[in-house]
């Protein structure tokens, strides 16, 4: 299954809700919890940096579980608000499309 345009950011925000993660583990979380998405992993990084620019996430260099230098991202307050807004927007979207599709 492919990721709909614009939804990657929502997935990243959701991935970070549990705590700071680096890019590789964000990607791992998304794939694990979705049961396998067809996603170019590199596409995650422009999205992360754009979100950082908008102030949804903050980043800090640290050590990975494998003891390598890695850049960790974490949600800001603004990111949390964004997650809430995007989630409900997404649900309304799905319900609307669903109603249309269910209509006879």
């Amino acid at each position: 299954m492919q990721v709909l345009p614009g939804t990657l950011e929502l997935l990243v925000l959701k991935a970070l809700i549990a705590g700071p993660k680096h890019g590789y583990s964000i990607m791992g979380w998304i794939q694990d919890s979705s049961g396998g998405l067809d996603l170019e992993e590199g596409a995650l990084y422009p999205a992360l940096h754009r979100m950082e620019e908008r102030g949804w996430v903050e980043a800090e260099w640290g050590r990975s579980e494998t003891n390598r230098r890695a850049k960790f991202y974490r949600l800001t307050a603004r990111g949390r608000r964004q997650l809430a807004a995007k989630t409900s927007e997404w649900q309304r979207h799905v319900e609307t499309i669903g109603r249309v599709l269910r209509a006879t």
């Binding site: 590789y24 590199g42 620019e53 230098r69």
Partner: protein, 899 residues
């Protein structure tokens, strides 16, 4: 959060950002390969798989870099803004903590900047503003130059009308040349009579300026013929005010110079050459314009021609006709050509330049002063600075903080200074001489504000640089090693403070010397003995229309005027004279004493004549040395009599008594009208009996030596073109002015009453220019002393604080309090004297610049210069006493603890 941000701010350059992006992406790929290997893939397989899952690495990296770089740049910009805001807040807080210091500095700056702003407002309006005509740089004034042989004769003079005519025909360096005069002309309408500035011009004048009438026509050759119909071209303002800008005004008539003139044209708005002219009439050839050098010439340089080139050509031409007509051009050596703007301001230029120089010096002093204050502050703060440095503040940041403080001070001072200058400008303009060119245009406008702003910035940077560098230097030594106990950098700063004292005092001394010289010169002008003892006499000059041609009607008018004035309440006496006291007389070249050979050289300084009615000497207070005053019986039918001034008596008869001797008037009297009328020749050949000797009077002006003067009875010698009513009153003379105007209007409504003023007001008007410049330079000198005193005080006070320990120790060792005071005073006095000596030495070559502004005193007057130096010394010592007195309180215990 702050920690988070700081970690984040580690990258300094864009290339750091690129590396970070690379590291981040590399990490992902390495992790991916590691996992795939752990799942059992071969290294090659794992790498291929990872690359494929990651997608187009180059494209992703490129996009990430673009975003990261953009974010970095935005951050950096915001950061430096935040840093600046931080610096300003820091500086403001620091200055608010030291209110006395900040207040004194801002005050010094505001005063200095206000002075500079005011002088700039004047300089800009008078010297820098271009004339409101097309290509003003091409306009030149042309004069004749004369030999220097005749002492007292002018070196340059105007031309005759035919001279200008010939010049126009032959010149190649000038594209146009015009002749003109600018008499104020009597003008009458329903509201009464007055004089308007006018131009009497040839038909080429408008071409020189490239302007044409907007309505009607310009002057033609026919208009220039003698005896042609009187015509006039209106200025735009007069056209609007009198005719409501009605084009039908053409062909109507205007009463000018007591006769109707037909209106033939209207000039465009803004054209007012010469000298604010409101109307123009044709300059017709009459004896006055063709035989006397009374016509001004204005020309426009031809394309590519220079002033020097035009001068060379016109000199050749002028010499040519001087040789052809030697009797009209005696002593002519060539031509002088000057830019019109330059000659317009030539009189005030030296004075304004002196002012600009004085204010520049004042500004420099202010700069040094503020730098000094900031430096001593920077020294006090050395520990704070060192602390900040050790806490990681970068040198750039420290530099910026100090500069910020200095700029904050200078900009605040600049704002205050501009407001101060603006608030006082009206007063200064009122003080300035009325004949200052472009005086009405002096204003504190946007350009002046820009100048002030620029000046404040410049001062802020100039004064801040030294202390800013110093604070960086201090930080570099990491002065914290002084262990939080010692005053840092004990040595060296004393000598630097001393040098500052010397420099400041020196500059102030220079200004005080200049100010004292001008003040001394000005008081001499005021104290000059004019020879006239009464200065509260009211004078009213009257010019008569040509209809009062014969002596009888002219005399009758003045008799009626005199009797009418005498009847006014408050008037105690009324007399008539040709000119007001101290305001000129007529030269009569051919006066000789009967039976005595004229001495050679008398012709250079011809005897002058003034006609006065009985009572004149008593009213204005001119004592008679011998003989009698005029009386009513010296009338038209009585024998001709004269009273000679002491100078004339000495010249003609030496020690012998002149009373009862006779004067012969050989030639005619040149009575020259300012207009096109012919000069009259009267009173020829009749002998005059000398009946009295009057003390000398500065009749040609308060600052001109008394001329050789002969008085004659007004009734025996009537100035047919006018006279002056003199009144003594028992109240305030000014209250009589409306009644006098009324009286003149009743006698003849056509007559404009020009100048009504007391003798004191006349004298005051004649010294208006020196008064203006003296007041300004003296104020600058006072300000400079004030600034220097503030600086001196600040430096010495700092010195005392810095040496409290030393003084305390000396006290412990048995020094009496007075010894400490003497110690400090001696040091201050040394640098003070050094400064004063330097200032005086610098003044000696510079005071020569003041020569043209000075009267009755040498520019190197030793007494004045010595007094100025002594004054500075007194001020300096007084300013040192206060901080030195503080040293007496150097209680050993307190002093040592103070550190």
């Amino acid at each position: 959060m702050t920690r988070w941000r700081r970690t984040f701010r580690v990258p300094f350059r864009v290339s750091d950002i690129d590396h970070e992006v690379q590291d981040e992406l590399d990490f992902h790929i390495v992790e991916l390969i590691t996992r795939l290997r752990a799942e059992g893939m071969s290294p090659a397989e794992a790498e291929r798989e990872a690359t494929s899952r990651f997608g187009d690495l180059d494209r992703h990296r490129h996009r990430v870099r673009r975003i990261a770089r953009r974010r970095f740049r935005t951050h950096r910009a915001l950061d430096s803004l935040r840093g600046l805001g931080h610096d300003v807040r820091l500086a403001t807080r620091a200055l608010l903590r030291r209110r006395a210091f900040a207040g004194a500095t801002v005050l010094v700056l505001a005063i200095g900047i206000a002075a500079a702003t005011t002088v700039f407002s004047f300089t800009r309006a008078v010297l820098l503003r271009p004339l409101p005509y097309a290509e003003p740089d091409e306009l030149v004034r042309i004069e004749e130059t004369l030999t220097k042989d005749a002492p007292g004769a002018p070196l340059h003079r105007n031309l005759t009308r035919p001279d200008v005519e010939r010049l126009r025909q032959r010149t190649t360096r000038l594209s146009a040349v015009a002749a003109f005069m600018s008499p104020p002309i009597p003008y009458a309408d329903e509201s009464g009579a007055r004089r308007l500035p006018s131009g009497l011009v040839d038909r080429h004048l408008f071409a020189v300026f490239g302007v044409l009438p907007i309505v009607g026509r310009g002057f033609t050759e026919d208009d220039m013929q003698p005896g042609a119909e009187p015509v006039v071209i209106l200025g735009h303002r007069l056209w609007v005010e009198r005719f409501g800008a009605d084009p039908e005004a053409i062909g109507r008539t205007l009463d000018l110079n007591y006769e109707p003139h037909r209106i033939i044209g209207v000039m465009p708005a803004g054209f007012d050459f010469p000298h604010g002219a409101m109307l123009w009439r044709p300059l017709r050839p009459v004896t006055f314009t063709d035989r006397f050098h009374v016509v001004q010439a204005v020309g426009r340089l031809a394309p590519g021609a220079t002033i020097a080139g035009a001068r060379a050509e016109l000199t050749t031409l002028t010499r040519g006709w001087a040789a052809a007509e030697p009797e009209l051009h005696e002593g002519v050596t060539g031509a002088r050509v000057r830019g019109w703007q330059a000659q317009l301001v030539a009189d005030v230029r030296p004075a304004l330049l002196v002012l600009a120089g004085a204010v520049a010096l004042l500004m420099l002093l202010v700069c040094v002063n503020v730098a000094g204050l900031l430096t001593s502050r920077a020294l006090e703060r050395e520990r704070e600075v060192a602390l900040r440095r050790s806490l990681g503040a970068s040198p750039g940041r420290l530099f910026r903080t100090v500069l910020c403080e200095s700029l904050l001070l200078s900009l605040t001072g600049g704002c205050l200074g501009f407001l101060l200058s603006r608030a006082t400008l009206g007063w200064v303009v009122a003080l300035s001489p009325a004949d200052l060119p472009a005086r009405d245009l002096v204003a504190a406008d946007a350009r002046v504000a820009a100048f002030t702003g620029g000046l404040a910035l410049l001062i802020g940077v100039a004064a801040g640089l030294l202390p800013a560098f110093r604070s960086v230097g201090v930080a570099a030594q990491t002065a914290l090693k002084a262990g939080g106990t010692g005053t840092v950098s004990q040595g060296g700063s004393g000598a630097r403070g001393g040098a500052l004292i010397a420099i400041e005092v020196g500059m102030a001394t220079l200004l005080v010397v200049g100010g004292s010289l001008l003040l001394n010169s000005f008081t001499r002008m005021l104290r000059v003995d004019t020879g006239v003892e009464r200065d509260d006499v009211l004078t009213a000059s009257i010019t008569l229309p040509g209809t009062y041609e014969d002596d009888a009607s002219s005399f009758e008018f003045f008799e009626r005027l005199r009797r009418g004035a005498l009847a006014l309440p408050g008037v105690t006496d009324a007399v008539i004279s040709l000119f007001p006291p101290l305001s000129g007389s007529l030269p009569i070249p051919g006066v000789t004493p009967r039976g005595v050979e004229p001495a050679p050289g008398d012709a250079d300084d011809p005897v002058r004549i003034l006609s006065v009615s009985p009572g004149y000497f008593r009213m204005v207070g001119i004592p008679l040395a011998a003989g009698r005053a005029f009386r009513a019986s010296d009338d038209r039918d009585a024998p001709r009599v004269a009273i000679v001034s002491r100078t004339v008596a000495r010249r003609f008869w030496g020690d012998r008594d002149p009373v009862g001797r006779w004067l012969q008037v050989a030639g005619s009297v040149e009575q020259i009208s300012s207009d096109e009328d012919e000069p009259a020749a009267r009173h020829e050949g009749e002998p005059l009996e000398v009946v009295g000797v009057a003390e000398d009077v500065r009749q040609e002006g308060p600052l001109v030596d008394p001329p050789p003067l002969i008085y004659v009875p007004f009734v025996q010698y009537i100035g047919w073109f006018g006279g002056t009513l003199l009144l003594s009153t028992d109240g305030d003379p000014a209250t009589l002015i409306p009644q006098i105007r009324d009286l003149v209007r009743r006698l003849d409504p056509r007559i404009p009453l020009d100048d009504v003023a007391t003798i004191a007001e006349q004298i005051s008007g004649s010294v208006a220019q020196p008064r203006f410049f003296t007041v300004l330079v003296v104020s600058f000198a006072l300000l400079a002393s004030l600034v220097a005193v503030v600086g001196l005080y600040g430096i010495l006070a700092y010195d005392v604080r810095r040496r409290l320990v030393e003084l305390g120790i000396r006290a412990v060792l048995g020094a009496r309090p007075l010894d400490n005071v003497v110690l400090l005073l001696r040091r201050g006095a040394f640098y003070l004297s050094l400064g004063i000596a330097g200032g005086v030495l610098a003044a000696l070559p510079l005071t020569g610049l003041l020569e043209s502004l000075m009267y009755g005193i040498e520019p190197h007057d030793p007494a004045t210069i010595t007094a100025a130096g002594a004054l500075m010394l007194a001020i300096g010592v007084a300013a040192s006493l206060v901080p030195a007195a503080h040293a007496t309180r150097a209680d050993p215990a307190v002093a040592i603890r103070a550190d």
